[in-house]
Subunit: 625 residues, 2 copies
């Protein structure tokens, strides 16, 4: 049975979810970096996105498909999906805070899509306009189901927002067309780019139509059986090398692998096929241990936008696409719902505050597609300047970011019959079926979280995630200390607290060393504090960043500021370091002249706030002397 | 005035070359790795190449262009160039050791090309067959001048071999057509891929026709002025970002940059425009210090086959294309002719024995396109298996390798009016205008080189290069020790030696550390001996290579063997090491459990001999404990 959850993921009441998420508006985030981001996303990013779906061709293409207007198809074959993600973002915003313009945009877009849709339910402006004879004939590259997936997700969001009912009709007609061809019709094709799987499951959750779930399951089962034509990038690129239950490690195009994983866990949740959960967890464990950046970034290769080999994690050439961070959050969230295990909330948090948060400038007007952990002083010899940009020719990331920011409230907590699990700490309020809380905190700048119980049943449990990074944690209930040892899932469990709970997480800055197999950062250290990964930007250093070396065993000193130019409020961290200059001597190997070495102070800024001042050098990992 | 030098580079008597090269057959290499390679290239590689120019479409395409046969154009737009390089290889072989089949192949190909050539001299099977309306209209990607360049070089080689005079006629007609359009005709277009520049200079050297030299100079002067349409890869890709006299560092597609540099030095040699030499030397110094692999490999990025940022030299994702090694040898050779400075011969040797020699399997039947310095155990999750292959869809490398191997004799020594400069040490004979030598040596396995003076004038000088890696060198003349200090160019100069000179270079194995700015190999060391870079292959290790760590200060022990499977004769080097195993603990950062550490012996094999046994892991750089 469908639930009343108005958010991206709403497992049915019969699902195997061990907890249920909240609606996007059940959690109000009133401050902190996430609250600020939700504001700038609404006031700056979304208006930019709405202008771009017009300007970059997504809406004009659909007008042409509807037989309206003049001109040629513009952009990529997946250009429709930019509009769909933008629609989804606006729908979540509409739940957060209704706006008449948003409602009109949703309704108007739904009407346009209805006019553009073929009588049989198929809808894709590129194939309708440019390649009508090749519908479903080149699924390895077509992105037709990928686009359909984003349409379905937008329609589910709009339906949950109570907006634009026409959009759901369009989506269902397309979904029914997919079912008629690929389930009932016996076509065994699968899209080169997973994404429709989670969308079909969600549409099933909303509508109860089981064929959508069955199609999602079939698409997942068919993957890895050589049904995707090789485009020259090899079968790993689109995860077609092995059936999902056999594959041991994340490979190929990272966003594809990660969307696929989210779909796999979604199908497990609704079908109970445990082999799906098991294989996904196995790959998660391998990926976390061998293919994940400190920031949570995933997919180390520019070449093929792909996962590399195990421990292939170069900081400078890290691809770590913003969309991969989002897809990882999708996957981790579903694993958390499936298991209640805090390690998924830990990685969600790491990704949220670092790989994902860095994607957007402080003003909400520029975006990273690629999120490296190092930028050298001479990076501008590259074919672009390595800075955030207002938009992209392939603009998958910005609207993906906006739909995620709009729905952040959904990911803060989970409820069960007997209590509430708080996964992420934000200042604001949480309303659930039985429990309402108010959270007062300056997290992540400060580790104290005051939780006021505004409403609760007589007997209940409050589960508070203790992040793995918190080395000493204290909890008090109504002023009385209580044991703060987390359970095996990483949560402190409090029995029926009545008024005030205070959680204090350990915000001591940490000097972090890499596993010896991570070749590219051997001999280096990074700085973290709370959930934040730090980085060293040239702007804050007294000398050439590329010559800075941390002093072994340096203490880390905190410096709070409210007016870092271009950034605003932040906490800086200072460390003892040396500036080491090696004179020119030809080939950079062999016996080198003795370097000049002078003491220096190295200053770090949260990674998510980087590139808000200039285009200078940046490093997350600094060598240690 | 043209000289009688029968080799790839023959500066005119009026040029600014400080020494002149020898003919390909003036040096006979009778043994050692280079002698063996010349044999396998002739007996195995060249027959394979001759079959492939037919099979992969190069010859059939030209037949179609001549109006003969049936079918469609096959392969890349630069498919003609594979045949041209193969013709050049055969021409040098024909000088080394004439063969009737080779002569027939050259003559037959020349006739075919003559029939395919347009009446106006233009010749390119792709554009004639597929895009006749776009001749010279898309120079940024067309490779028309690139192909022309390879034709010119093949024709020069055939002419110097005294074969297939028709080939030179075809080449001149095409060159004249280029001159009429791009010099006399005022078309300011330049090819996206440099290569024709050196070829035009060489054709000038052969024929004395100054318009060829003038066109080469114009093409070089026009580069970096925005005359190449951006294909989306940016102006750096094709070195069109800055005029050559302003650019400070090697950028973009590595082979393009390096062929361009060879052309720049060639134009300097023949025109005396010193600004060209100066800018090229400036980029050479920067490249050597910041963008060169230990193996001499160049171009660190798969993405765009490009030079990276300064110090961006990842061993695992090293692109280091075989063609880039060849192009670097072209450039270094011309710089050596222009200056006599041994540092260019040093880099030539490093590249020759490592980045270049690794390109080909011991049996001459498989080739690397990409030459990394590390291959992990799980590299086979990549889209190909990371091993040498028999051929490539884009087959630029194999015939390029064959033409270079066939002409190796050309690069061993240089002559001046008063003596001979020996740049590379090989067993065999050197004949020059005034001096004949016999070299007896087991180089590079052994550092002793016995040089017998077979013929010499009364007064002359013998210049022997002392490689920068030789930390102690001795020289005796007729058994008497003489000072072995090199001059400022890196050569020991001996006045009129009469009979026997013995040079002993220091063949102690060396543990080499990287410059601190080379981020990707911090904390590692590599092993070298003589000109050879070594690597550790899994096949020789007692434990998982990816867990091997060298003991700091280890001694290096030599072990000679004549029967390493798949390899044959070699010198192995053993070092003390540890096997360090880090248990699984989730994210590979932060506080990790204490690793298990057990002593082990690490065994290294010359890098050029790797991948001749299995597809296992390999590392040039090992961590040091």
């Amino acid at each position: 049975m469908a639930t009343s959850v108005r958010g991206p993921v709403a497992p049915t009441t019969g699902s195997l979810a061990v907890q249920l998420p909240l609606s996007v508006d059940d959690v109000e985030i009133t401050g902190g970096p996430l609250g600020r981001w939700q504001r700038t996303s609404r006031t700056a990013s979304i208006p930019l996105g709405l202008a771009q779906v017009e300007q970059a061709g997504s809406v004009p293409n659909l007008r042409l498909a509807a037989g309206e207007g003049q001109g040629d198809f513009r952009g990529y074959r997946f250009q429709d999906s930019d509009l769909y993600k933008q629609l989804e973002a606006v729908a979540w915003e509409q739940i957060r805070k209704p706006d008449g313009d948003y409602g009109a945009f949703l309704a108007g877009s739904a009407e346009l899509l209805a006019r553009a849709q073929r009588p049989d339910g198929y809808l894709n402006s590129h194939y309708q306009l440019v390649k009508p004879d090749l519908v479903y004939a080149e699924l390895e590259t077509s992105h037709e189901m990928y686009c359909a997936g984003h349409l379905l997700q937008a329609a589910v969001a709009a339906a949950r927002a109570g907006c634009a009912p026409r959009l759901l009709e369009v989506a269902r007609r397309f979904a029914d067309h997919l079912v008629s061809v690929f389930l009932a019709g016996g076509n065994d094709g699968i899209d080169g780019h997973p994404e429709v799987e989670t969308a079909l499951v969600e549409l099933y959750r909303l509508t109860g139509e089981r064929s959508y779930l069955a199609l999602a399951a079939k698409l997942i089962d068919n993957r890895g059986r050589g049904l995707i034509r090789d485009t020259g990038l090899g079968p790993l690129y689109a995860q077609d090398h092995l059936p999902v239950r056999q594959a041991d490690t994340a490979v190929g195009h990272a966003v594809r692998q990660l969307y696929l994983e989210a779909g796999i866990v979604d199908v497990y949740l609704e079908t109970g096929d445990r082999t799906l959960l098991d294989c996904s967890v196995r790959r998660w464990e391998d990926m976390v241990a061998t293919k994940t950046y400190l920031t949570g970034g995933l997919g180390s290769r520019h070449d093929g936008e792909a996962f590399g080999e195990r421990y292939e994690l170069p900081p400078d050439r890290a691809y770590a696409e913003s969309c991969a961070a989002i897809a990882s959050m999708h996957w981790n969230w579903r694993l958390l719902l499936a298991t209640g295990d805090g390690r998924y909330a830990d990685l969600f948090e790491r990704t949220l505050y670092n790989a994902f948060a860095a994607s957007t400038s402080a003003d909400g007007l520029r975006f990273f597609y690629v999120n490296p952990l190092q930028r050298r002083a001479d990076h501008a010899t590259d074919r672009y300047d390595g800075r955030r940009r207002e938009w992209f020719e392939c603009a998958c990331c910005p609207p993906n970011i906006m739909r995620t920011v709009a729905s952040l409230g959904h990911y803060v907590a989970g409820q069960t019959d007997d209590g509430l699990h708080v996964h992420q700490y934000v200042p604001g309020t949480i309303r659930s079926a039985q429990v309402d809380l108010t959270l007062a905190t300056d997290y992540p700048w400060d580790g104290r979280v005051g939780i006021t119980v505004d409403r609760a049943p007589g007997k209940w449990q409050l589960h508070l995630r203790i992040p793995a990074w918190s080395r000493s944690t204290t909890v008090t209930v109504d002023g009385e200390p209580v044991p703060a040892d987390p359970d095996e899932r990483g949560y402190v469990v409090l029995d029926s607290p009545r008024r005030l709970v205070e959680l204090v997480l350990d915000m001591s800055p940490r000097l972090v060393r890499p596993h010896p197999r991570v070749d590219a950062i051997r001999g280096c250290a990074a700085v973290e504090r709370g959930p934040l990964v730090y980085c060293f930007e040239q702007a804050d250093q007294p000398t050439d960043l590329d010559e800075l070396v941390l002093a072994a065993g340096t203490e880390l000193r905190i410096r709070r500021t409210d007016d870092l130019p271009g950034v605003g409020s932040t906490v800086l961290i200072e460390a003892d370091a040396y500036s080491v200059h090696q004179p020119y001597s030809g080939l950079p190997y062999g016996s080198l002249p003795h370097p000049d070495r002078t003491p220096a102070i190295a200053t770090a800024v949260p990674y998510y706030q980087w590139d808000n001042r200039d285009g200078g050098a940046m490093r997350v990992w600094l060598p240690v002397s």
